[in-house]
């Protein structure tokens, strides 16, 4: 935290200077939309980034914004867009405040400021509002993170998704669960599924339950527990979990409730073979790993994840660590990826015309990215056919940053050793 | 038949019986005064008649219809209007708009209601303040406004709760004239008043209550000589009675 504050303060000053410089005329002209002359001269190409940098999702939004930014910095440092005479990229910033209407309005502002492509915005609801706007304004929109299947089901021409769909996420979860249990030769009989009752949590758990039922695996879901996002107490829920006597828990949770859930499981001494997150943002976040320490060990999560061996990751992570004191994680890495994909498309398009960018986005075949998965290609809906999830397990290591390890798929694995069943929480 | 009949009206607050089996009536065209010490239950009588308080028992009959359990607005619609002891003007709107609220009760057309309101404002001597916000008026004028508003509802019976309190003698005399004129137009009047000057000048009959019970009733000049009244209200030394 301390390190971060320093960086923050540094940024403060810079931004402050910039802002005070731009004050006065700048404020008035840009806001009230005096047609921008800059658009005519493609010395810089503007990319609009809309992320939830304030409000409940600020932690993710700020990381994602930085991911977008660092990818662009990287391209610029390497000569910009060569096909357009080394034109530099510029990220113009928007804050969705986690509200759809604000996201839409911000996207519109960024388009007005000259953004030729949009990237963002983590939340599916905001993504939907921006997607429709992008379609209305005919500006390409690359979603870095946003999993809900429905967004790409509308048949929009201008919308692409780098992230995996919720359906893909669920399929990955089941596949890995099967691999883990079969390899260990242990088959949990009773399971509890918990999920936050938000679009993501409900969609994920619904899909997972359905797929689990059809899988023929010898596991029965004896309890499904839903609770609102942002809950502050899970003791009653965990008491119910304990009463259900599960062998395994499939939590679909965010960082806040993950912490509460894990502590309650410990305090109430719930007997478990393990914790397996089918798609659980939270269980691998650095704050979580640090604060939970031993309690976090051996939990497994299926997640679209970074590929630590890739050169792109190593480059991106170094920059990210320097700027924020944190490692690239799923969201920031995908944000990094999203901006890289855009740069690649611009490079091949050699033009900032929507038509050309769209054509080149559709022809994307981009492998030099920092995440687990194949080369990024978009199908006719705009979804990334190369997207893949990984199974990560938190394993003991004195170095906090080395605890989260990929265990599956084998091609990307950092650790051959999958620990399952795990020792009980209070016996570590 | 009397215009208003009060029959064994009783109202208690907690252990305190504010009005205790009170009966009296008001004839059409009459001016009746109600006097008694502070806390004797006078305002409670008004509140029970005008529907702001439900009586515990007893009946209030106006033109042969029971008013008990009716809402204040519906009692007002029947033709029984009141003023409040602590005046309740609509502070942020003009005198005209204040009076128009009353006028609109009987007159659906806003423009006709406005004309009527202006007439009443003129009659009450508030013409200069027509466009002024009510909250800016001094107390005597607010009292007049209160009366003007009630008058605008075209009542058959007006209940006046201490409209003369706080007025100087000249103003009291003016108001006496106005009330008499209102009465001459056929409006019956039932008034609570401490200003004996007003009570004596206007009332055709006076009721005196104390502890919620009637202790005297009759012509003003008879009532003030009544021993019970002197003891309870006017004071033993009647000459120096509480006549402010």
């Amino acid at each position: 935290m301390e390190k971060k504050t320093v960086t923050r303060a540094g940024m403060n000053r810079r931004t402050f200077l910039k802002v005070s410089g731009a004050a006065g005329l700048g404020v008035a002209s840009a806001t009230f939309g005096v047609p921008s002359l800059l658009r005519a001269a493609p010395k810089t190409i503007k990319i609009g980034s809309i992320q939830p940098v304030t409000g409940p999702l600020a932690v993710i939004g700020q990381g994602s914004r930085l991911g977008n930014q660092l990818a662009i910095d990287y391209i610029n440092a390497n000569g910009g867009i060569n096909s357009m005479g080394g034109a530099k990229l510029e990220l113009v910033l928007g804050d969705s405040e986690s509200k759809p209407e604000v996201g839409r309005q911000e996207a519109d502002r960024l388009i007005n400021e000259g953004a030729v492509v949009l990237v963002g915005p983590f939340q599916s609801g905001v993504a939907m509002a921006i997607a429709t706007l992008a379609e209305q304004r005919q500006v390409p929109f690359v979603m870095d993170v946003a999993a809900l299947d429905a967004i790409t089901q509308k048949g929009y021409e201008h919308v692409f998704r780098v992230f995996i769909t919720a359906g893909g996420l669920v399929a990955g979860a089941l596949k890995y669960y099967k691999t883990v249990t079969e390899a260990a030769g242990v088959h949990p009989k009773r399971a509890v599924v918990t999920n936050t009752a938000d679009p993501f949590g409900k969609g994920m758990s619904g899909g997972f339950l359905k797929m689990l039922k059809g899988s023929g695996l010898p596991v029965e879901v004896v309890e499904r527990i839903q609770y609102p996002l942002g809950i502050q107490d899970l003791s009653a829920e965990v008491a119910r979990i304990k009463a259900a006597k599960p062998d395994i828990i499939f939590p679909i949770s965010r960082i806040g409730d993950s912490v509460i859930l894990l502590r309650e499981l410990y305090k109430q001494r719930v007997d478990l073979m393990g914790i397996f997150g089918p798609g659980s943002p939270g269980w691998y976040e650095p704050e979580f790993v640090k604060d939970m320490d031993k309690l976090a060990f051996y939990s497994m999560t299926n997640v679209p994840w970074i590929n630590p061996e890739s050169p792109s990751y190593q480059r991106g992570n170094a920059a990210f660590l320097k700027a924020s004191g944190k490692n690239l994680d799923t969201n920031s890495a995908y944000a990094y990826t999203g901006a890289l994909v855009i740069a690649d498309a611009l490079e091949r398009a050699g033009s900032t015309k929507t038509k050309d960018i769209l054509k080149s986005l559709r022809e994307t075949n981009y492998a030099d990215h920092p995440v687990v998965g194949g080369a990024i290609k978009f199908n006719d809906k705009g979804d990334n056919t190369g997207a893949l999830t990984a199974l990560v397990q938190i394993q003991p290591d004195p170095d906090l940053l080395k605890r989260v390890r990929i265990v599956l798929p084998k091609d990307f694995a950092q650790s051959e050793n999958i620990i399952f069943p795990a020792p009980q929480l209070w016996e570590r | 038949m009397a215009l208003l009949e009060i029959n064994k009206l009783t109202k208690a607050f907690g252990g305190l019986t504010a009005v205790d089996g009170l009966s009296f009536e008001i004839a059409g065209g009459e001016i009746l005064g109600l006097i008694g010490p502070n806390g004797a239950g006078k305002t409670t009588v008004f509140n029970c008649i005008s529907g702001f308080l439900p009586p515990d028992s007893g009946d209030v009959t106006f033109e042969g219809r029971s008013m008990v359990q009716r809402q204040p607005f519906s009692i007002c619609k029947r033709g029984l209007a009141r003023t409040f002891q602590i005046v309740k003007p609509f502070p942020a709107i003009s005198v005209l708009d204040n009076v128009m609220v009353g006028a609109l009760l009987r007159e659906p057309s806003v423009s006709i209601a406005q004309a009527e309101a202006l007439n009443i404002i003129d009659f009450m001597g508030l013409k200069k303040m027509t466009r002024q916000e009510a909250r800016g008026l001094p107390l005597p004028l607010r009292k007049r406004l209160e009366l003007a508003r009630a008058l605008a509802t075209k009542p058959k019976l007006l209940l006046l709760d201490e409209v003369m309190a706080g007025l100087n003698p000249t103003e009291v005399d003016e108001l006496i004239g106005l009330i008499r004129e209102i009465n001459d137009q056929g409006v019956s009047i039932f008034m609570i008043e401490h200003v004996m000057r007003g009570v004596m000048a206007l009332s055709q009959r006076v009721i005196v209550i104390n502890y919620g019970q009637k202790i005297a009733e009759g012509l003003p000049c008879d009532v003030v000589l009544d021993n019970a009244v002197i003891e309870a209200y006017l004071g033993k030394e009647f000459i120096s009675a509480q006549c402010t």
């Binding site: 402050f16 839409r104 609801g125 429709t132 | 009141r82 708009d97």
Partner: protein, 324 residues
């Protein structure tokens, strides 16, 4: 027609012409200005004129949005019709709320809590109804056509929002000069005195809340077909309820032009501060500024900015005679 009317016509003419010169983004800001002015005006009918404070007006926006979208998705009903269905439903819900509040004489803080409770309960209920998308919310299909209340560009939305704002202004003006409006103001000023003058306060309270809810719900339909995404938390949440009352309060409650003025000040202000202070390292600064400015306005201009504007405009308003 006096000079003030002339000024209004002039402003309206300028606003009508703006789409010819402004960018789509700036039109977007104006749409939000009109939208929030409209909502503020709708809230003003209840709270500004009748004096009952509602902190749960998001409820009616949500009902309007969900009803029109539900009818469009499941019965193919045009939102142009569906919005009125939403309005009627919102009025019915408001009448239930009003019945509880007015029949039992809840005033001030207690009425506020009742309105919050209604909105929160509805939010929770909608969050559990599958056909309404439950927690996930509803994604609208983008199918631009006049019938569907959906358009490719901002210009149609601009004119719709402008029309809604102007109509709400006209409606409130009509109310203001009618018997209804005068009775509403009387209730606001002193409910007992109004009763004593024969005003059926319960009836007029109910009328006021029904009108207010109806108008607000129409705004919800507009929102749905402009944003294309409905979510119970953002549509029934207290955040929106508060957002909606900011503008009339800053502009001037219980006045005709207060909500509009407030929206013309606050909406661009939040836009500008977000655009210029939400950059790296300063996340959150714009909301702090927004907070400080609203506090300052309330502390130093408690009657709303409209009071000051009125003073500037005084030369334009003809003196009224005492006895016209």
């Amino acid at each position: 027609m006096n000079r003030l009317h002339l000024l209004l016509v002039l402003i309206l003419a300028v606003l009508s012409g703006l789409p010819l010169v402004l960018s789509k983004y700036t039109l977007g800001i104006f749409i939000m200005i009109f939208y929030y002015a409209y909502l503020g005006q709708s809230w003003n009918v209840l709270t500004g004129y009748t004096g009952h404070i509602s902190l749960g007006h998001a409820l009616y926006i949500g009902i309007g949005a969900y009803t029109s979208v539900f009818l469009a998705q499941h019965y193919g009903l045009s939102p142009w019709v569906g919005m009125f269905a939403g309005g009627i439903l919102a009025s019915l819900v408001a009448l239930i709320l009003g019945f509880l509040g007015f029949r039992f004489g809840l005033r001030g803080v207690y009425f506020v809590i009742l309105t919050i409770a209604f909105a929160e309960i509805t939010r929770l209920v909608v969050s559990h109804i599958e056909v309404l998308g439950s927690f996930s919310g509803i994604f609208l299909d983008f199918d631009p056509s006049f019938r569907n209340f959906q358009f490719r560009g901002n210009i149609p939305y601009y004119y719709i929002a402008l029309t809604m704002m102007v109509l709400s202004l006209a409606a409130v003006r009509l109310i203001e000069i009618s018997k209804l409006g005068r009775f509403m103001v009387a209730i606001r000023e002193d409910e007992d005195a109004a009763q004593a003058l024969g005003v059926n306060t319960f009836k007029y309270n109910m009328i006021a809340i029904a009108i207010s809810a109806f108008m607000t719900a129409l705004g919800g339909c507009f929102y749905a077909n402009y944003i294309f995404y409905l979510h119970p938390d953002s549509l029934f949440g207290m955040g929106l309820s508060i957002e909606l009352i900011l503008r009339p309060i800053v502009g001037g409650m219980g006045t005709l032009f207060g909500p509009i003025l407030g929206s013309f000040i606050l909406t661009p202000l939040s836009e500008v501060s977000r655009a210029y202070f939400s950059k790296g390292g300063l996340e959150g600064m714009h909301l702090i500024l927004y907070g400080i400015i609203t506090i300052l306005v309330v502390l130093f201009m408690p009657k709303g900015i409209i009071v000051y504007v009125r003073q500037w405009l005084k030369p334009l308003i003809p003196e009224r005679k005492g006895d016209d």
